[in-house]
Subunit: 238 residues, 2 copies
């Protein structure tokens, strides 16, 4: 006799759910089929029976996450650009950046952002066939749209500069997302001053940082040395 009849979901559904949770927490490589099955209350072979292997399960999970996030971000961009058109103005740089960050750092749904970060991080560190497929099919068009939007919002930047900075932006977000919890390097080095777990603060700090980073164009002088408008204050010690 089985106990999970009405209360518990079907095995396949449970595995998918647990997979999302564990992938977000421990990363893709940090989850073994056995641990996953155990947490889902299923047999090890169930993963292969229902999904045809760990990679297929991961593909399914991450394709879904990426797709949801993509739809949401494209809609946000549409809204921002529509508002700008209505005001006959450029899209607001801060709003564009905020909408991008929002996909990764969102108080309502922290898991999606974490999963998205895990996906892109894995694809960057050790890409393989299925990460390539998911990134190409789901994330590339978002990137292209954002590069265009950022270029419009920050017209002082050349096309190449926008690409560079978009890339830097993603990097800072990803690495921050992967440094969660009380063991985080940020929290330790700051002596508890910064808590990455506080998504609200994290979000606003990120947006501030990135907005500043996109506001100013190339400021390197023809010479190597370039200290622009530094007022001679007293040097602060240590």
């Amino acid at each position: 006799m089985r106990l999970n009849h009405t209360i518990e979901k079907q095995t396949k559904s449970r595995i998918r759910h647990v997979a999302e949770e564990m992938f977000a927490t421990h990363g893709i490589g940090g989850v073994t089929t056995r641990a996953l099955a155990e947490k889902a209350g299923a047999n090890t072979a169930a993963v292969n029976y229902h999904f045809g292997g760990k990679d297929n399960l991961a593909t399914e999970v991450f394709r879904d996450v990426a797709h949801r996030s993509t739809v949401r971000r494209l809609a946000n961009l549409d809204r921002i650009e529509a508002e700008a058109r209505a005001k006959n103005a450029r899209p607001d740089l801060r709003a564009v950046i905020e909408s991008f960050v929002d996909a990764y750092v969102n108080e309502d749904d922290p898991r999606t952002g974490l999963l998205l970060a895990r996906l892109v991080l894995k694809h960057r560190v050790e890409p393989n066939e299925w990460t390539r497929a998911v990134v190409r099919d789901e994330l590339d068009r978002v990137a292209e749209r954002y590069v265009v939007a950022l270029g419009n919002a920050a017209p002082q930047l050349g096309p190449a500069e926008v690409h560079w900075r978009y890339h830097f932006m993603v990097g800072s977000i990803l690495m921050t997302l992967s440094d969660d919890g009380p063991e985080s390097r940020l929290q330790r080095l700051s002596g508890g001053l910064c808590k990455p777990a506080d998504k609200r603060v994290l979000r606003s700090q990120l947006v501030d940082f990135l907005t500043g980073a996109f506001l100013i164009g190339n400021q390197a002088g023809p010479d190597d040395d370039g200290h622009p408008e530094q007022a001679g204050g007293s040097p602060v010690d240590d």
Copy 2:
């Protein structure tokens, strides 16, 4: 009879050399004992005989790299701060950032920066005992010094803000470094406009980006909405 008598180095030295090279190229997890030994022209067991295991070898390599880089960066900071004191001015923000980036992106010695990035990236994605030890013993003091220096160079930022932004800065550098070569996402998405392999451009783009990111303080208004001084230009299409 052995051929490697005067020309080739000792086995231990060769293994260490090849390890540096392969760790930089393929990452730590991407190098197997067997591949390493083969490339070094040594037996698989030699790695354990001379270093006592793969982890010890990695520890030795990365501790050395981190140490070299740390010494160099601290010296650079000393110089920058001494110059500032001599002029009775604040340390130049751009110079501080440039010296930080220099440890990762340096045309003369690309390998050290890559290795450093691999180390920190591994420690972020899947920390373990030896990464913790190396990071704590070698990199923490650099981080603390740089946070102080950046705080002095960017006095409009509060202490917590400086920590946040230092963290973001490291993230953008790391992720960029790990996205090398012609298969890089940046190069693909930019249609070849940006080439991460060109360290000279990469470096200046990073420094521009980061200097801007540290120049401006918290610009969020009391309300959620904040579009500061946007002049109403014509909305650019697509």
